[in-house]
């Protein structure tokens, strides 16, 4: 097996990196693939909570790096999907406990045993981010339709390009179709206009995500959820399938766009 290593990052915090990592992991594993998710947010771990595996942690990622345990001992098997694993972050250390070289070594070791390695990056542009992208074959950038999140995504894309890991692909998370339609929220086109990278998925705002996250159940396994469906579609796109983008902006998208244009003009 030769795994593909994918890092999920954003620059800004709170846009949904951890939720995206957990759900893409679950979605890929539901195709029968062997998947491991690594929480690279050392000191502020929470991928274990989102995946509902917090109470099973014995060893963590820093224990592996510092040689206190074998890689296998730090891997926690998911409750539902037997081919999905988590390597949790250390809670009591900080990002300097790990170097980009450690991450590359770990990635190479995992490549042989898995189909997909997903790395949940910490927010920010410092050491933790550099650690997280060091071993990546592909970087997914998560952003929300908000000016500040888009600005940070732009900065991150520049840094990823400078590390020659670019250009990466974009996940637009927490889109409220109703607000976009009214012209109160940045639309997909507006965001792609600035960021100029390829889109891999649009995830609608969905209250069920919050419920699922709090319960430690991946929404991607909930066939009735639009957000879950969107994560499943991203996973299929990662696997090379051509999946058309969900039309979130509704059937009146054309009129919505016209009214948005008129509104933009009217403000001047």
């Amino acid at each position: 097996m030769t795994a593909k290593i994918v890092t999920i990052t954003s620059g800004k915090g709170g846009v949904g990196k951890t939720t995206a990592t957990a759900n893409l992991g679950a979605a890929l594993a539901s195709h029968g693939l062997r998947v491991v998710c690594i929480d690279a947010d050392i000191g502020l771990r929470n991928l274990d909570v989102v995946m509902g595996l917090e109470n099973r942690i014995v060893y963590d990622f820093v224990d592996v790096v510092e040689g206190r345990c074998k890689l296998r001992q730090a891997m926690i098997r998911d409750k539902r999907l037997e081919n999905l694993f988590l390597i949790p972050a250390a809670q009591t250390r900080d990002k300097t406990a790990v170097s980009p070289q450690d991450m590359i070594r770990l990635g190479e070791e995992l490549r042989h045993d898995f189909d997909w390695v997903l790395i949940d990056s910490p927010a920010g542009i410092e050491r933790g981010f550099r650690n997280a992208i060091a071993p990546a074959d592909l970087v997914l950038i998560v952003t929300n339709p908000e000016v500040s999140a888009v600005r940070d995504a732009d900065r991150i894309i520049g840094l990823i390009e400078a590390e020659e890991k670019g250009p990466g692909r974009l996940i637009l998370n927490r889109v409220k179709p109703e607000m976009v339609r009214r012209g109160d929220m940045l639309g997909t086109e507006d965001i792609l206009d600035v960021l100029a990278i390829e889109l891999i998925g649009i995830v609608p705002e969905d209250e069920r995500v919050t419920v699922a996250t709090n319960q430690g159940v991946p929404i991607a396994l909930d066939a009735g959820s639009r957000a879950g469906q969107a994560f499943q579609n991203i996973a299929r796109r990662l696997l090379g399938e051509e999946v058309p983008f969900e039309s979130l902006e509704g059937r009146d998208g054309f009129f919505g766009r016209i009214s948005r244009l008129m509104r933009a003009g009217g403000e001047g």
Partner: protein, 227 residues
């Protein structure tokens, strides 16, 4: 070049040629120039052309410290004098420019076809948030300048794309400098000492040129130059 400081832009930083004459006064002249254009020099990387001037490590070290307190990094010293080269080596400074440094005006082809020009750089990519370009000549970008990116130029700034970041043309005080973009919507635009923010956009973007006219910073449609 005998009595004046000459500044050229390289892709690695600035190349400053110092005039001949008493070192104390030449050094003061350089520090004055840096102080007067503090905004332009702040954060700059500088190589000094000293020709055959003889300087010891103590004098070079002091100059480096004085420059660094103005935010200028001394990165290389070019000299034909062995003592000066030795002093530069002791301080860990480069003594040569990287060989891929761009042509300067002296070594441009001088055939009949060559027209006089000015130093400019061409940036063939989109400048994203956090990117910063600083150049004493003109700056041309084939791509967008996103919010959070900055360009500081001694001369004109021409953007073949959308301008949404912060730009400063004529940063050394040249009021004749202009800023052109296919879509001129900067976060902030400065020419020499004039500052302006973009008015809210009306309708479709059109190519525009910003310039200073009668002491006012204005934008007008960007059209071919007449006359």
């Amino acid at each position: 070049m005998d009595t004046e400081i000459d500044i050229k832009g390289l892709s690695e930083g600035l190349l400053i040629s110092l005039p001949t004459g008493d070192w104390e006064s030449v050094r003061d002249m350089l520090l004055d120039a840096v102080a007067q254009q503090a905004e332009f020099f702040n954060g700059a990387r500088v190589a000094l052309q000293l020709l055959d001037r003889e300087l010891g490590a103590a004098e070079l070290g002091r100059l480096r410290d004085e420059l660094s307190s103005s935010g200028v990094t001394l990165w290389a010293v070019l000299s034909t004098n062995e003592i000066t080269r030795g002093a530069a080596a002791d301080l860990g400074l480069d003594r040569e420019l990287p060989s891929r440094s761009p042509r300067t005006s002296e070594d441009r082809p001088t055939g009949d076809q060559a027209l006089p020009g000015e130093e400019a750089i061409l940036i063939e990519r989109t400048l994203r948030s956090g990117h910063s370009v600083r150049f004493p000549g003109h700056v041309m970008v084939l791509g967008d300048v996103n919010p959070g990116a900055e360009i500081t130029a001694g001369g004109h700034i021409i953007i073949w794309g959308r301008l949404r970041g912060v730009v400063h043309a004529g940063a050394e005080g040249d009021e004749s400098a202009v800023v052109c973009a296919l879509d001129l919507a900067p976060t902030q635009l400065r020419i020499a000492s004039h500052i302006s923010v973009s008015p809210a956009r009306k309708g479709k973007p059109k190519p525009e040129m910003a310039l200073v006219r009668e002491g006012q910073l204005i934008a007008e449609p960007w059209q071919a130059k007449r006359g």
